[in-house]
């Protein structure tokens, strides 16, 4: 009888040295939406917890994992560290804590390509589980940019035109350098940029600061993209003459 494949969940962007020996298992990125998982984190987390941390906990509770790897270093956030403690207490599963200090960039070819931004995000979010070589065309003159962490509701990326540059922590994620602050703070001059963070995420501080400094737009979204936030992004792009 075939041995059951181990199911290993991970959160954040753990170092490849930790992921590589586990690739024979079913690797599941707990930051990503898993269809059918019911929210159960409500009673375990404060109301001021961002949607991604909630999702990680919901996924960890629902998926019957054999092991969980949590990157809790400078490349993730304090909430991930707290979450690792919670999971250690309520699940009888080994919790591996990592701190990804990698500075050997894997490149940002997806972020800089001419693809629609939603497709970019799908590729980046799938990239840790399914790394692959892609034939991509760079976009040297991006019409717009979106800075930030991956949104819980990916429909936000549909508002932007093809070739929109992806910046911020998402760029660090593609580069496999999640704690590279310099890369995270890179914003090209003259490109209309929307600075995004999950509601309640501390990255809102820097998102707002950068938006003010660069004449961009700061938005935060708690889960589902609301009509007012969508309208603000559309209006920002419209009056900067960015057309889809």
């Amino acid at each position: 009888m075939a041995e059951k494949k181990r199911r290993i969940g991970f959160a954040g962007c753990p170092p490849e040295s930790v992921l590589a020996p586990r690739r024979a298992a079913d690797l599941i990125d707990l930051d990503n939406l898993v269809e059918g998982v019911e929210p159960r984190s409500e009673s375990l987390l404060p109301r001021t917890t961002c949607r991604i941390i909630r999702r990680i906990l919901d996924n960890a509770l629902a998926l019957g994992l054999d092991e969980i790897v949590i990157d809790e270093g400078y490349g993730k956030c304090d909430s991930a560290r707290g979450l690792a403690d919670i999971l250690e207490q309520i699940l009888e599963v080994p919790i591996i804590r990592t701190r990804n200090e990698n500075r050997e960039g894997a490149g940002t070819r997806i972020c800089d390509s001419n693809l629609p931004p939603l497709r970019k995000m799908e590729l980046i979010l799938d990239g840790l589980v399914n790394p692959r070589e892609l034939d991509l065309t760079p976009e040297p003159d991006p019409p717009a940019a979106i800075w930030g962490v991956p949104a819980a509701d990916l429909s936000i990326y549909e508002i932007f035109p093809d070739g929109t540059r992806v910046l911020g922590w998402t760029r660090c994620l593609e580069n496999r350098t999640p704690s590279d602050w310099e890369l995270e703070m890179e914003v090209p001059e003259g490109v209309p940029t929307v600075f995004f963070a999950q509601t309640f995420c501390p990255k809102n501080i820097i998102a707002q600061h950068l938006a003010q400094a660069r004449g961009g737009l700061h938005v935060d979204v708690d889960g589902v993209l609301s009509q007012p936030v969508r309208a603000k992004i559309e209006a920002f792009l419209h009056f900067r003459n960015v057309r889809r």
């Binding site: 609301s226 007012p228 309208a231 559309e234 920002f236």
Partner: protein, 230 residues
């Protein structure tokens, strides 16, 4: 000929660009009649028009057409939300739209007026306000005032002042701004802003005016929504 529509949560505003005829009717009535517009904006626009424009863009474009100043701040107080744009020439300097903290303010004011039979044209503004973080929480405060012995008119006037103060803070406390939406017909609301603040009411058809550039992009004639009611 084209029919332009602003399908708000409670009220629908329509402009027939051929005759210049404008009308305002309850959105549920417009829905029951199956009214469809060629281009629309507003909360329910996607359901009732083949082309729609988001309300912030419509508000900015409408303001640009109606206000003869290079720089302006325009606030729209709707039934369920509050939004504003700050324009300089064709640049959008700032904007915001809240459907949470300012939620249901216009709707609640209208509801209270009907409930207590208050004519807002005859009520003097209150000197004090109730804290209105949203329509529902503000209403709780209002009923508390009534239970403490305030007249219903006084309580509603304080509520209106609370809404006005909240909206004024929301737009950065300017000395002067333009107002759009149903509250342009509400004298009490306009008088409830701080005394030294100048409020210039533009009426309920600002967003519709903002749809006209969309129409002109398809066909060149110049049309105005600011004409006479027919």
């Amino acid at each position: 000929m084209a029919l332009l529509g602003d399908f708000g949560t409670t009220w629908t505003k329509l402009l027939d660009t051929d005759t210049g005829r404008r009308c305002v009717l309850p959105t549920r009535e417009a829905a029951a009649q199956g009214r469809r517009a060629d281009i629309a904006t507003g909360h329910s626009a996607r359901r009732w028009a083949s082309r729609h424009l988001n309300e912030l863009i419509a508000l900015a474009q409408g303001g640009r057409r109606l206000i003869r100043e290079p720089e302006f701040l325009l606030l729209d107080v709707g039934s369920r939300d509050v939004k504003y744009v700050h324009m300089r020439d064709s640049d959008l300097l700032d904007m915001d739209w809240t459907a949470t903290c300012g939620a249901l303010t216009g709707f609640t004011l209208e509801l209270l007026g009907n409930y207590y039979g208050i004519d807002y044209g005859r009520v003097e503004p209150a000197q004090k306000s109730v804290p209105v973080t949203c329509g529902v929480l503000g209403m709780e405060q209002l009923f508390e005032l009534v239970s403490q012995g305030a007249s219903e008119t006084e309580a509603v006037a304080r509520f209106a002042r609370g809404i006005a103060m909240n909206a004024h803070r929301f737009i950065g406390e300017p000395e002067r701004f333009y107002l759009s939406g149903g509250m342009c017909d509400n004298r009490l609301f306009q008088l409830s802003f701080p005394q030294d603040v100048e409020v210039r009411a533009l009426g309920r058809f600002v967003l519709i005016e903002g749809l006209i550039p969309e129409l002109e992009a398809a066909a060149p004639p110049i049309i105005t929504a600011a004409g006479e009611d027919t």
